[in-house]
Amino acid sequence: MISAAASYARSMPGISVVLMALMVAFSIIAPGFATGANLANILSQASILLLIALPMTLIIMTEGLDLSMGAVLTLAAMTLALVATATASMVIAVLAALCVGTTFGVVNGCIVAIGRIPPFVATLGTMGVAQGLALVVTDGQIVVGIPADVRIAYSGSILGIPVPVLLAAVAYGATHALLYRSRFGGYVVALGGNREALMLAGLSVRSLLVSSYAITGIYVGLAALLMTARMNSGHPTAGIGMEFEAIAAVAIGGTSFARGNGTIFGTLVGVVTVGVLRNGLNLLGVASSLQVAAVGGLVIVSLLIDGFWSRRP
């Protein structure tokens, strides 16, 4: 019994301890923290980051990295806003955003897999391209006049659960099924650290890589929907830099960059921990410069704990 519990505890990412400690501490000292409304609030806020962090985990599992996600998210959201205002159709707008996301995913995948350029460089380049396009498409102006039904994607709720949380949960479930229940997922997991074995087994690493990057486009398109709904507008710099937040969440969640092994559950915990920390500090009214340092501290502390945790017998 006890050893089973202990082994389960060891399989949890080390950051879970930090998350639990934060939850307990904030529940005691931060008024309003432990309420249903705040829980829904934290999870809604975390939903957009999770939609970026999930595909980021996937890419990091292939020993890759995608720096362009924040910029592509911004461009997709601008596209979504422009198409939504022009056609008044949410469906066409979301399809357009998915197209933008997937196009950039395929381009990234091709540059990495076929051009054999390191992912960091390839996506740093496409990041600039997406960021530039997002600014150029409206000359830096914000897009407003979004149809009312788009907004429901962030502010609506079904059976008391916010729509963004439902969307994120579906995305999480789908990612789980893809990674751990499908053959493709098995290959993706194997890409990190076992590339040679895949090649020897006669699989095309190229097409695996391209598909992995292409899939990120779907998540980014969905995140663009949530972001546009949240702001009720398309803003040309809204998502810039979010890729680093996502990468940090993945790292906090215990995914290794060198070997590409990790879990999407760890990423989920990482995303929620960042959300809980920021929310709790806001509820407490902690000075902003301390909050800035706190994020950096969390990244380092969680990795330290992870190191000690994994070295335990």
Binding site: I111, I117, A122, L124, G128, V129, F257, A293, G297, L303
Partner: protein
Amino acid sequence: MSVSSPPMPSTVGPSLSPEFIQVLYRLLAAAGLCFALSFLSDAFLTTGNILNVLRQASLLFFMAAGLTLVILTGGLDLSVGANIGLSACLAASVLKATDSATLAVLVGVSVGLAVGLVNGMLVTVLHIPSFIATYGMLWFVHGITFAFMAGETVHGFPQSFRFIGSGFVLGIPVPVFVMLGFLALGTFLTRWTTFGQEIYAIGANPEAARLSGIPIRRRLIAAYVASGGMAGLASIVFLARLNSAEGDIGESLTLPAIAAVLIGGTSLFGGVGTLLGTLVGALILTLVLNGMNLFAIHTNWQPLITGVIIVLAVYLDMVMRRHLKA
């Protein structure tokens, strides 16, 4: 994958090392860019503008130089911009309080070294991947800077101090001399000292380096400390150039600095690259911005053009590398 043979200085015959040829290609690209720009604008190919481009490139190079050292070891330093911000703010406050340029330089460099040391410890002793460790440090250092500055700027330095950033000697801007000094010192350090050779060896193949008895941990820490010290020095030139310090002074140049290193032919996998290449990378990026300003192209286009150049430069680099090997 990087195809990197340990870059021992070639001693056989007069043949140029492949790395030098790579830099030559980049210089040719920069020259081609200049040639094209000079046809498009009369203002481009003037002594004034060339000195102007050199001075702007120097600021980017100061940031990119330390980064190059870290990237050569196979790591990355995302905190370099934040480091410059903290070093600049503390140095500026000391300068303002004491009027002593020497003390300011000492403080700026010490702060830079200290941040570099923490980075090095995080990466080597605690085994945190450099990308994540320095990302955490970025925010940590930012937090300290913002708390220290409380939204104020420190401005108005003595003329003698500002000379470092905006003065001229023999008609050439002082930062350009500082840049050449950095380049010479850095190139000497990386190419002609055991320390430099060991840095290359660690980046190219850490396992082999360990087996051949190189004290990896100490060398890596030294690389991060040196990079931090360069950021500290860079902060002094930034201060002297802008005559004022604020928390986000170096922030807008962090990603361009990484881009300059990559365009300059340094491989993210470590072990391959030169400081001279980084200088050319910084020049190319500066030329692009300069050209856009001269032709009144809106700066909105800048990220797009930079992005395309990064991918193209690295792609051509790899093609050439394969070609040279063949």
